[in-house]
Amino acid sequence: MSKLNAISIALLVLAAMWFGAMIFLLPNDNLASVGLIQSDLANAGASNAVTAVLLNFRGYDTYLELVVLLIAVTGVCSLNILPTSQLTATTDKPGMVLDALAKPLLILLIMVAFYLLWLGSHGPGGAFQAGALLGAAGVLMVLAGYPIMWRIDHKAVRGLLTLGVLSFTCFGLLSLASQAGFFTYPLNHNKTIIFTIEFAAMCSIGTTLTILFISTTTNNDRHVNQTTTKR
């Protein structure tokens, strides 16, 4: 084992040095696409360049990325880590501090999530950041003992999980049907469409993260969390 260790360390130090040397060989002048993107930003439907790239210039990537999330959450749920009977709400109270803090925190989290979603059109923010906050809100609700034992068994939850992918797919189909060209936004409606897709994506991401947490956390872990908060 130690021999493997030594060989692996030696080889990887060499590799790090090689890759490090490559960094200095990379060109130092501007990247060609930066200027191009700046000039197209006016027609993108979002003044923040990163949002414009994510939702418009390279929206197709984001679409497939939502598909990856959907595959992961479906995969985790199909593992049936918890028997269904265990997935009911816990009856224990989570303890005074968490109980008192959870509600204002939740309201704050959800408000900030929507703020970030709105901010995404012209500053750093957007569906993924907002979705992550919603996911955090979901996890907090689970830990605080709120009866939201969301499971993939509820049709509404499955609808929420697919909402982001579905809205993108519908947009793709509509763009083909209207002869506009694959994933091309109509110029006068691009802001509305981008916001709708972002909203749907945010809901899906938040739900996905919550479900991932619920379905990989056994009741045992949850119980440990709760007893630590009581102390």
């Binding site: 692996s8 360390i9 590799a15 790090a16 501007n30 360049a49 992961a72 379905s215």
Partner: protein
Amino acid sequence: MSSTQFFAFVGVALVCIAMHSLIARAHLLRKILAINIMSSGVFLFLVALAWREQTDLPPDPICHAMVLTGIVVAVSATAFALGLLIKFNTLTGATQLNDAQQ
């Protein structure tokens, strides 16, 4: 060495450290974490060089978008890997893969 190059190098170093852990450690949780760190290293490398110091242009938004996409993909993959590991552990009680088995 400029600061962007320094951060890019840190990214490279992270990739190599993670690769070592992946090869030399048997515990599955360490392997999954190693893959996670490896992806962080690649993302750091990708995003550090988004800003080229010698120009007035803003940092490259494509790098940022790629890293955002990559992070979400890495989160999904890690979650799925952890789910598999938990299930594997509840079924077998083991935390590492047996190399002899087929």
